[in-house]
């Protein structure tokens, strides 16, 4: 087997491992969707009303940001394949920036609710009904776990960016970039479902 074939074989092995890891992430969030299903079923009216307190505008904006960031990282792979190192780095930078903006938005969204004393364990939340408590519990927990994954994703993008700039990732060997893309798309996928389940059930 020559060197190119070896790299291809290793790349396929690496990609297979990454997909299996993505499966574990799907199951991780799947557990949360189980909890959501149960409590939404038991408290449908309360969830419906509580969802009105979330900003559809910010939610939609964040959704679009993440979708665009998915496209930029996918384009960075095309760029690397076409040996356009500079474009790849720019696109990765854009992905990172968009992910960062998402987190900033989250910070303000959460901040708004926390300022109004609505957060898990808060006295004001405890005064409201069970449905509200569960809605906000799920909201903070699910978007929180999601945000943690975005932070990890940003770290991954950072590492890949450095490696590309050092030519350790290039058109002949770029599986690490692909895997980073896969992880980022997963984060996007989760949000594609979180968005309607929290913001659009009004």
């Amino acid at each position: 087997m020559n060197n190119t074939q070896e790299i291809e074989q290793e790349a396929l092995t690496s990609k297979t491992g990454m997909w299996l890891f993505l499966f574990t992430e799907l199951l991780l969030f799947g557990g949360l969707f189980i909890v959501y299903s149960v409590y939404r079923y038991q408290n449908s009216e309360a969830f419906h009303l509580a969802a009105n307190e979330l900003s559809v505008f910010i939610g939609t904006f964040n959704t679009i940001i993440l979708l665009i960031s998915s496209s930029t990282i996918a384009m960075s792979i095309t760029a690397i394949q076409k040996k356009n190192k500079r474009l790849a780095l720019l696109l990765l930078g854009a992905t990172f920036l968009l992910g960062f903006i998402f987190l900033v938005n989250k910070y303000f969204e959460w901040g708004h609710h926390i300022k109004e004393h609505i957060y898990p364990g808060s006295y004001d939340l405890s005064l409201r009904g069970h449905g509200d408590i569960l809605f906000y519990g799920l909201y903070y927990f699910m978007t929180g776990v999601h945000a943690l994954h975005i932070i990890v994703g940003l770290g991954f993008i950072g590492i890949v960016t450095v490696r590309i700039s050092k030519d350790k990732i290039h058109s002949g060997k770029f599986v690490l970039l692909e895997n980073c893309g896969l992880y980022w798309h997963l984060v996007d996928l989760i949000w594609i479902f979180l968005f309607p389940l929290f913001y659009l059930i009004t």
């Binding site: 997909w19 079923y41 095309t78």
Partner: protein
């Protein structure tokens, strides 16, 4: 096995896909303003499923990967769905 070098997704395709995704997002938001009752959420989730399919198929390259990857993803989705349904058997019939 697949050689990624042969499958370079054109920038144009990716831009087209993301535009479609944004449009679908905006549609799902506007659907909620129309009062369709229980159907609203169903449609919103349906649109989410369509968006996910595009992300999986194009962005995540499933269209060009081996059959095993597609089988795996389908299997995992079916698994999560089954577990949710079986769990709901408890709550629906208490």
């Amino acid at each position: 096995m697949e050689n990624n070098k042969d499958h370079i997704i054109p920038y144009q395709t990716l831009i087209l896909v993301v535009t479609g995704l944004i449009v679908l997002t905006l549609i799902s938001v506007s659907v909620t303003t129309i009062h369709l009752g229980a159907l609203t959420v169903f449609i919103a989730l349906l649109i989410a499923a369509v968006k996910s399919s595009f992300v999986l198929w194009i962005f995540m390259h499933l269209k060009f990967e081996g059959r095993l990857f597609r089988l795996g993803v389908t299997g995992v989705i079916l698994l999560i769905t089954s577990v949710i349904i079986i769990t709901m058997l408890d709550y629906l019939f208490r």
